[in-house]
């Protein structure tokens, strides 16, 4: 039995080593293009590091038990009558509890304020309204209202104030790894900072994708996202202001509740 | 014969089985009622409209509590084979139940808030679901009354009576929670 323990333990170690190596070198996500996206990717990676030895342990026991003794005929004798009443279950209980608490704290609890927190003084406020089946984006600081594309300056903090006109939607930018539901009657927020330039044309994950089932054209409810330099952003704003004949929004509507009143036709 | 012995064993356990089944049913039902009560506080907050008819609310609450007393008396009566008292109290319970339902109907038709307001949604659905339980309880009581008239039930066997009256008490207890949640809560 002792030899079996050693052999299975060795199998576990080998599998774990392979697994951890893969975990370090495999890119799980396509390049995250926002600060919080990078944090989320990091949290994901940490969880994988924890998960690998758990996974390999179960696999090692399964595989080793199978290799050690299996038969297609009715076994001639019974297995060793291990009841599992002693300290092994207790040790297992303590270790799994400790592991669980560890990952609940890090990367769990520790990351919540960062990921879910709001930027109080963002460089840019973007108001988003979902409706079946598109998104309307407004830049109240820049008098740009209700465009169906999202353009953001790189390395600037952005706060999105999101709401919905009809049913639930979910504001998701896969390239940023961030999402929040759009709820009628409420304003939900996310704050983040794009860190890399790019556009939907070259990276399909740079899109606002509705991620909450919202009826007929749910899957098509997506608009392109571009992350551009400050200069390009300014130029784009200019262009929009020229094109828009919509009445500019007043300063007061910058408040978080602007969407409920400000943009209604 | 061995099978017969096992059968007798199950028979001996039958009262316990029935009791447990009934109480589990109440446990389950209480989850339904607490879902409704939760919804009431989530959508309408911890307040109530001033236009509530407090007198009527208090009156129907008293009527329902009183009906639990007569129900209890009916059960005691059949336990000592006092059929006239049993039937009398059963009838009183049904009548009080009717009075309660009538009170709810009045409440509904005179309410000054509308179904489509958050509080109205909670009020009408909570009282409605509860009243439907009262009505089903009354139907069961009526059946028990009819059977009792025809000589069913005795001190030796009255599970049908006991179950029905326990159910009646349960519905009553639900109202004990619903009444303050709808009529009294305010802060």
């Amino acid at each position: 039995m002792k030899r079996d323990l050693v052999a299975a333990g060795a199998l576990w170690l080998i599998l774990t080593a392979i697994g951890e190596l893969l975990a370090v070198f495999v890119d799980f996500y396509p390049l995250a293009k926002a600060d919080k996206g990078e944090d989320i990717e990091h949290a994901f990676r940490v969880l994988v590091y924890f998960a690998v030895p758990v996974f390999t342990m179960v696999v090692a026991v399964l595989v080793y038990s199978f290799l050690r003794q299996h038969t297609t005929e009715f076994p001639t004798d019974d297995g060793p009558p291990l009841q599992g009443r002693g300290s092994i279950p207790l040790a297992w209980f303590v270790i799994t509890s400790a592991l669980t608490l560890a990952i609940a704290i890090y990367p769990g609890l520790v990351s919540i304020p960062n990921i879910f927190g709001d930027e109080p003084n963002p460089d840019l406020v973007v108001e988003v309204e979902g409706m079946q089946w598109t998104w309307f984006v407004s830049y109240p600081q820049h008098d740009v209202a209700r465009v169906s594309e999202l353009v953001l300056p790189v390395d600037r903090t952005v706060r999105f104030n999101i709401t919905s006109r009809d049913v639930l939607h979910s504001f998701w930018i896969p390239g940023f790894l961030m999402k929040i539901d759009a709820v009628p009657g409420r304003t939900t927020t996310i704050s983040l900072k794009p860190t890399k330039t790019g556009s939907y044309q070259t990276d399909p994950n740079l899109r606002v994708q509705c991620a909450e089932l919202c009826g007929l054209f749910h899957s098509k409810m997506r608009i392109p996202v571009s992350v551009v330099s400050d200069e390009e952003f300014a130029a784009w704003l200019e262009e929009q202001a020229g094109a828009a004949d919509a009445a500019p929004l007043s300063e007061e509507t910058e408040a978080a509740d602007a969407l409920s009143g400000g943009i209604e036709r | 014969m061995a099978v017969a012995a096992a059968h007798a064993d199950v028979k001996a356990r039958r009262p316990g089985i029935n009791q447990l089944g009934l109480w589990l049913f109440f446990a389950s039902e209480s989850f339904l009622f607490s879902a409704l009560a939760t919804a009431r506080f989530v959508i309408a907050g911890t307040d109530r409209p001033d236009e509530l008819n407090q007198a009527l609310g208090l009156a129907i609450t008293s009527v329902l509590l009183l009906s639990s007393l007569t129900a209890y008396l009916a059960e005691c009566a059949i336990a000592r084979d006092d059929r006239p008292a049993f039937l009398r109290n059963l009838l009183a319970t049904i009548m009080l139940g009717l009075l309660f339902v009538a009170g709810v109907v009045v409440e509904w038709s005179t309410a000054e808030f509308h179904l489509s307001e958050p509080y109205g949604s909670a009020f009408f659905s909570m009282t409605g679901v509860h009243a439907s339980h009262v009505v089903s309880g009354m139907a069961m009581l009526a059946l028990v009354y009819w059977l009792g008239l025809r000589g069913h039930f005795s001190a030796k066997g009255y599970w049908g009576v006991e179950a029905t009256i326990k159910y009646w008490h349960f519905v009553d207890v639900v109202w004990v929670f619903f009444y303050p949640a709808l009529y009294l809560v305010s802060w």
């Binding site: 696999v59 599992g84 749910h218 | 447990l20 049913f25």
Partner: protein, 625 residues
Amino acid sequence: MTHTAEREAPASAWSALVPLARGVLWGLAGFGLGVALIAVLRAGAGRSAWSLELSITFGYALGIVGWLFGVGVWERWGREWFGLSTKEGPTGWQRYFAFTLDHKVIGIQYLATFLLLFLLAGLFAVLIRAQLLSPEGAVMGEGTYNQVMSLHGIIMVAVAVASIIGGFGNYFVPILIGAEDVAFPRVNALSFWLVPPVAVLLLTAQAVGGWDSGWTAYPPLSLQNASGQLFFSLAIITFGLSSILGGLNFLTTIIYMRAPGMTWGRLPIFVWSMFSAAILALLFTQFFAAAMLMLILDRIADTSFFKAAEGGEPILYQHIFWFYSHPAVYIFVLPGLGLTLEILAHFSRKPLFAYRWAVGGFLGIVGLSAIVWAHHMFVSGMDKRLIAPFLVTTEIISVPTGLIFLSALGTLWMGRLWIRTPMLFAMGVVFNFLIGGVTGIFLADAPTDVNLSDTYFVVAHFHYTIIGAEIFALMGGIYYWFPKMTGRMYDERLGQLHFWLMFLGFNLTFLPMFWLGLHGMNRRIATYTPDLQGVNIFVSVMGFILAASFLIFVFNLLRSLVWGAQAGADPWRARTLEWQVSSPPPVENFPAPPVVSGHPYDYGVPGAPAHGVVGMAGGSDEVSR
């Protein structure tokens, strides 16, 4: 003792239809009455007599009563309420089509019904995968896709709720505890006969426009939907009632009907898992029913529980819904895990490792499952202060789950693994549920869930827990108990072929879905961005292989049912009580009352007494077949 029931001359085949036909007729009469009632009331109030959803709701409420009474409640039960004597039901094979009280018949009724529904919803899955062969959708429009996806979802959820519990729970819990039936046989039959209306409602919803809000039916979308949504809600309430009554019955049965000597410490682990699932079904199902009730009222009675514009709260629905639906995943999976442990012990020829800890695991999951629901709502826009506590409670649930893994691994360790089809499936469950469990951590962890929620990562995760654990356990259980239920052996080679095709097909279908989720594919979409097409084609092809494996399964079952070798009472030489009686067991289960004096899994324990002995009439071999 032989089956007295089967000795009587079988009536003509048509007579089997009589109870069903009466049920339908009385059901239609009830429906008409309900509609008429509403018509009278509305006409009295000066409104049009027919209001689609209101009339249908009331018609259905009375219709279901008519159906139940017609199909057998009246003859076998209701007459008693009015002091009349009840009538016996049909005997012979006709009892499978009637309001029959024998828990074994009800178990078979459940199994057959839900296997059919499983295959049907599996066909919908094939349609879904066919659609996703192309980024623009290969076979249907978005509208049809959303409806097919919704139907697939809710039917599979129903299968997950009721196939193991209703099938094996009914057939085997009484036998495993040494009882002759469940505590409330008539309630049991009632539970089953509530199911056909559910299937009819879900499958006829298309006639009134269907519904496309998935199995979750979130408002406001579900308020905006066509009347199919109403059918959905009525179906859920009906099914919920069935499941609540089932839970009540199992709890009472396990508490009161155990044979002498069947202490709580000697209960087979499958019974413990059923006990746990029954608690959850009994209590939490009411919340799903309540959510549906509020949805119906919002639709037909002008209330505004979930209407933001009137002051209602759409997010309230999600709280109520998940307060049931998270425990529901344990209703799905706990009986599957119990069944898996059962099979692992018998086929490893070893005691179940850490039995008491495993029981603690089941009960611990029951306790914790009430306080984890909002992990489905980390990005729903709910109060952000709720995120941290629900993250912690959810992570903690992996501790009791870990105890079940401990039991499985300790049992396998150094066991004499007898590789038969049930054992392969049980080991498959351990592997699949491991992946399901580990990936659950990523979803429970709020920061990573921000990206993963509502993506194919979630789809992969819950298919690993539901198919990977429960459906694999269901298949293992079918092969394990097939000889007991039918008296015949299945074909071992076909069984193992089914396992390997299903195991590989399953893993190759769903592993890549994790990748899809990480790379920007969200769930419930009829079309997707073209960069994901390659992996989607792979997934679809593997999914077709997974689907094909069930053809082997069905073929094996049907063939073995007729031509399988005689199985004998105890083909697995297992210790639990069901193997101590004939295959199939006699109507009263035990020809003589069983006496239990040992633990069910004491394989190889020196001097351990038999788990149970069936009466003085002799051992299992003398039981007539």
